[in-house]
Symmetry: C3
Subunit: 257 residues, 3 copies
């Protein structure tokens, strides 16, 4: 049973996600499973989409097609790509959303072309999610040859992530107000923190790593390795984002204490 | 694999949609696929529900059962109907939600009766979505004969749409603030616009048709044929609805320029 | 086809629900069906989670695994449990969320242990929904023996509901502003109401039971047996919660009139 996992910035109120799924139903394999990873990416926030994609990527089985559409440049000259690594597929824009895949030694990249619309349909220049990416995902989920819908591409076609490896930021605020950052547990910065470097956010010191929220003292900011293996910050039993008045984009700082 | 596509004004916070699906799971075929088209129709906004239904209708394969519940008159004397056209089913209230189906030459209409509740359940006079429409959709998705659950009806039982063919309005505002209207591309009004008639909304001129959002000049209102083949209005790279302070129901006007 | 029904307080914006489903996809049976009952439980509102669970429980077929995670004490010493009654499973925290199951004569209870993470994964101390409860639900949905993942437990491990049987409250406000209470139709209090006891909420008298919303006079508060067989309160055709300025937790009172 092949999984097609969807990440978009379309929200769930509009019919857009359903229209992508309608294309998957028409064109995909009968045994396909759909997974809504999140559709709540802020419109055009490619960094948050990349974080969500990188987080869910290893949690889904080999064969999964990750269909990700956070695409502020839709209709412009940014490439549309498919990439395969680790037995899994990425289908989406080449705007940096799948930038982390370029580092995989076995990555292969293709450039997608806008298909002819099926009879009775008119392909839209504004809705590549439905008219380009979903049909490509359906083709790959069916075990189809990428050469039938795409031309060979290069890693550069995936696009670049804007951030450097020496600056980190809050990339997501969850329902509980916890601040989720893009500082990954398998990096040199993580080793510096584990060795005692201090962490500050919004001018306030953060203690960590802790193992459970309950370790926080009253009103204390704590950090811990979150369930997605990146650094997270919480405030005792309160909503950290609301109390600090912060949100996605906020920088975090590491220093020798 | 039969698709059952759901449109409601129930939202996703309450358990109502899940209860409809529970009825589909109990009574429907084992190979059924469920599709949430949208549950964010404003409570009782039959026109928006009709727009969503008409939009998704041709995108789903033959055999699909469209289960649509925007039903401010639930429990009153409005009929409950099933209709078949084009190899697809509509199941829902006869309040105009499926009014556009009446124009199809091959349409057939039935009137549904409230079924006896299964043992251990008590049918509710307030939740026809779960107790009447979902069981009917399950029956039809299983290939059941409509005569077993309904009596022959007439096109009038579908109800009428309130609007005329010479006035159009904003029927939906999407997550990006784009104004989606009910002016369809295959109408005489569309031909007038393509021939140079001018379009105004909220007293402002709208330029179009354009092919991509990127064609807008700074601060300019543009129109284009949207991905649902109705006229849409956008504001450069901004949220048009928020900037203009408008929402569903707003009239649009066509004039010879 | 086994159903796994999910209730959480995670919301749908974050990736948490998808990560639980990813675990179900990796570890569950190929023919499993997932049902999102609701993810909009207010963070930590165990009473609302219990209400939703008790409401959906009988509506899903025998064999269903109810996976419910409203778990403010995650990572502390509260037990993690599985319970079976009536051919259905509960998997979740032992904090009272499944308290009503303890009254069933055939109930059997197990205590779950945190499993070793699969290769390449690191079990989180903060995300038992994904790392403990979802794998247990997948095991049970596959027909696995609970003894392989749990030790025998007692009814006490389910935890207790805080409320008494002589006080009732508003436990949910739905999208339409209707006030849904935890006063069940099969109780002595219900019989008192049917026999003419009066009902007041926020100091206002409520008339009932009525059979349809349309029975309300202008501006009148009415009560009726809702579609979940608990008492609900509505205000004519308005949003009762907004007009009265009330929400979950509000007490309702019964008196001889």
């Amino acid at each position: 049973v092949t999984v097609v996992a969807l990440i978009t910035d379309f929200g769930l109120d509009d019919t857009y996600v359903a229209e992508m799924k309608a294309a998957l139903f028409r064109l995909g394999p009968p045994q396909m499973r759909l997974l809504d990873v999140t559709h709540a990416i802020r419109p055009g926030d490619v960094a948050a989409g990349r974080w969500a994609l990188q987080r869910i990527w290893p949690q889904l089985p080999a064969g999964t097609v990750h269909l990700a559409v956070v695409d502020p440049g839709v209709g412009t000259s940014r490439p549309a790509v498919a990439a395969r690594t680790d037995g899994r597929w990425y289908v989406g824009p080449g705007n940096g959303l799948g930038a982390f895949l370029a580092a995989a030694p076995d990555v292969a990249v293709w450039r997608l072309e806008l298909p002819s619309p099926p009879p009775g349909f008119q392909a839209s220049s504004t809705f590549h999610g439905r008219d380009l990416f979903a049909p490509a995902a359906a083709h790959l989920a069916s075990g189809g040859d990428p050469a039938h819908i795409a031309t060979p591409g290069r890693c550069d076609d995936l696009g670049a992530a804007a951030r450097t490896d020496t600056a980190w930021r809050v990339v997501w605020v969850d329902r509980f107000g916890n601040l989720i950052t893009d500082l990954r547990r398998d990096t040199a910065a993580a080793r510096r923190l584990e060795a005692g470097a201090s962490l500050t956010v919004a001018g306030r010191r953060v203690r960590g790593p802790v193992r459970a929220y309950a370790e926080a003292a009253r009103g204390e900011l704590i950090w811990y390795w979150g369930s997605g293996d990146t650094l997270e910050i919480a405030l005792d039993s309160e909503n950290a984002a609301a109390r600090l008045g912060v949100g996605p984009g906020l920088a975090i700082a590491l220093d020798r204490s």
